[in-house]
Amino acid sequence: MDRAAIIGIGQTKAEGRLKEFNYAELVYPAVVAALEDAGITIDNIGNIVTTSNDFWDGRTISSMATGDVSGAWDRNISCVEGDGAFGAFYGMCRVLSGHYDTTLVTAYSKGSESVSAYITNAAFDPIYIRGLGLDMVSACALQARRYMSRYKISEEQCALVSVKNHRNGLDNPNAHLKLDCSLQDVMNSPMICDPLKLYDCSPISDGAVAVIFANQKKAKKLGRKPVWVKGVSLCMDTYLLGDRDLAECAALTKAAKKAYQSAGISDPRKEIDVAEIYDAFSYQELMWTEGLGFCDRGGGGRLIESGATGKSGDIPVNPSGGLLASHPVIAAGLIRIAEAVRQVRGEAGRMQVKEDVRTALAHGVNGACGQSHCVWILGRE
């Protein structure tokens, strides 16, 4: 069976409002950068998968906006609607199916163009939930409260995630927020939706990212440093928030298990050198570190307190600053992949956790309160 590798990455610097760019102008530099990084031109690209969301873009058929700048002309192209990590999965499959040598995968969104509360409110069921005014923040606040109550996680422990990731974001040239905050700063930040305070929440950023997948033959031929896909899996939990225990993340555990299996990993804490995970809110990093098996269920708070997930810890998490430092919706999961690629290549600059990163984990989430997860294991060989 063929293997896939990532041979190029490109990203724009995320900002709060990139007023002067429309969607196409936002994505084009990321595509150009990815091609340059891979050392190829658009003519070498076999096919394209764009990732976007109709609601965030305010246009159904959102894929229409960025066709030209993604090389759609006279090429095969498709579009995944959901987090970029899922778009990447389909892009990878199109290389492994034997039809194309390479897939260019793009993901972007401009959250600044509308009101995120309306957009995420539209994700909730129109008959039972939407009229209550639930949005992503309030839904996650419900989950945070449930998780913290079930496993005795404190607000301070969540706040430590915010401190760590915002500080890490200072070293990330592409990150939106440049915020150096202390534990006290986080605890004193305005309450947005109990128990989530301002600094517990990721911002909404404008940004784009592009990643190029290649099959084994092509990756070896191109001579640059390919980063291999060792394992990938995805899993979706049930929809209505009341249908599952929000303190649990069964879908993540299942996806992680399969990804580890494919990658031959039996002890993720030991064998993974760095993880880029989807921390839309501070509590989520704690939950996902448990679901990924970096610690026991309920051990997320103690994990962060131990310093293990810091840049010099034994399981660094989000050296890029994660979503807390920079959150272009839809692009976020694909950016995690790009950051993981940088680490494996040793090209992460001040974010580099150590010289010898052999295996990295990247993680994307789709849907409210971590309903659907996509886990990637990337490696040097």
Binding site: M1, D2, A24, N53, D54, F55, G58, R59, T60, I61, S63, M64, A65, T66, G67, D68, A72, W73, D74, R75, N76, I77, S78, C79, V80, E81, G82, F86, F89, Y90, M92, C93, R94, V95, L96, S97, G98, H99, A122, A123, D125, P126, I127, S233, L234, C235, M236, D237, T238, Y239, D243, A250, A251, K254, A255, N366, G367, A368, Q371, S372
Partner: protein, 387 residues
């Protein structure tokens, strides 16, 4: 090719104008249950779920998440794809790649739409660029009408020619128990129906429908055990070429995406005479005029000769190259499902399960998808495993 893949089971709802008796999830589940039943499968046999619709028709964000209980994606890999009108065919292509890649052995693919829940044209307008195209665009009807206008101007085709296509498809639909509109019509009746946007009359145009369709793709080695005659994917091709409707080859009388996608498809299939080699086509033909224009762009005849091919009866059931034995899109149009229904219908033809609309001896069949800015998706299915 990494692995070959085939459609082994299909399911559809009985498509209707308004399905007030079900919400969206239930509609999806209806098609899923029918498909699993048809294939003698349970949801446990499915490794992954793909689903799609055109968002603004139902106004639900993250539909894959919302529909998981109805789609069967619970605790499975589930992904949403959407490319507007081409959604169904895009899904048909994706299901194939997911299996062919080795990622999954059996993939359930679902396309659906509850068009009754919104103003169709209003929603379609939101697909187009807000600054340049949307202020003027009047939905699919306008976009298609202008294409027809150019074609008529360049090649002399008439409203009668187009009406003949409508008559054909509406007659075929009467043989399809799933079709939405099952009423014969006549040339005169079509020409007398209200004008929507010159030259497109009501009976030239597709309806909007509530419906869902599901298919299961399986890998070689497994497909043969699941189905006595799987519909093997031989080739796929897509061209989603334009970002602005005003760039699209609207003023040329030719749909370039169809031309190019067809050229790629035929090259992959090693065929030079498509009219001779293809046994049946389910064309995403959103209005009658397309049945004249796009058979030319598909290379079935020369530019301008579409009407002749149609009047000769070549595209009727029983003719040389039957088109839309299901009644096609002018009979049934749940937009997110429509492209996938083309794949399902073609699969039924290959499996020999198409009932009264069966074309005899189908070896090679084509399903087409249309949407966006004159975009095209093509899928070729065959009776035999591709070499």
């Amino acid at each position: 090719m990494a692995r070959r893949a085939a459609i082994v089971a299909t399911g559809q709802t009985h498509h209707r104008s308004i399905r007030r008796d079900v919400n969206g999830q239930e509609l999806i589940n209806e098609a899923v249950m029918r498909c699993l039943e048809e294939g003698e499968l349970t949801i446990d046999d499915i490794d992954a779920v793909l689903i799609g619709n055109m968002d603004h028709f139902e106004g639900i964000n993250y539909v894959d998440c919302w529909s998981v209980d109805g789609s069967g994606g619970f605790m499975k890999p589930t992904i949403k794809l959407t490319t507007g009108g081409t959604t169904g065919s895009t899904l048909g292509i994706a299901g194939y790649h997911l299996v062919a890649s080795g990622a999954f052995d059996r993939v359930l693919v679902i396309g659906w739409e509850k068009n009754s829940e919104s103003d169709t044209t209003g929603a379609i307008n939101t697909a187009f660029d807000a600054i340049w195209d949307r202020p003027f665009f009047a939905g699919a009807i306008a976009g298609l009408a202008v294409m027809a206008q150019t074609y008529a101007h360049l090649y002399g085709a008439t409203a009668r020619d187009a009406a003949r296509v409508a008559v054909r498809d509406r007659h075929h639909a009467c043989l399809n128990p799933y079709a939405h509109l099952r009423k014969e019509t006549s040339i005169e009746e079509v020409l007398a129906s209200p004008m929507l946007a010159d030259p497109v009359c009501l009976l030239d145009m597709c309806p909007r429908t509530d419906g869902a369709c599901a298919v299961v793709y399986a890998a070689e080695g497994i497909a043969e055990k699941m189905c006595s005659q799987p519909a093997w994917v031989h080739a796929v091709a897509s061209r989603h070429m334009y970002s602005y409707i005003s760039d699209a080859d609207t003023g040329t009388g030719t749909m370039i995406s169809m031309e190019r996608a067809s050229a790629e498809l035929y090259k992959k299939l090693h065929i030079k005479e498509p009219r001779k080699k293809i046994d049946v086509i389910e064309m995403y033909q959103p209005f009658s005029w397309a049945g004249l224009m796009w058979i030319e762009d598909m290379g079935l005849c020369k530019k301008g000769e579409g009407p002749k091919l149609v009047w000769d009866g070549a595209t009727d059931l029983g003719g040389e190259i039957p088109i839309n034995p299901s009644g096609g899109v002018v009979a049934t149009n749940p937009i997110g499902a429509t492209g996938l229904i083309r794949c399902a219908e073609v699969a039924l033809q290959i499996m020999g399960k198409a009932g009264d609309r069966q074309v005899p001896d189908v070896n090679l069949a084509i399903a087409t998808g249309f949407g966006g800015c004159a975009w095209t998706d093509l899928l070729a299915y065959g009776k035999k495993k591709p070499t």
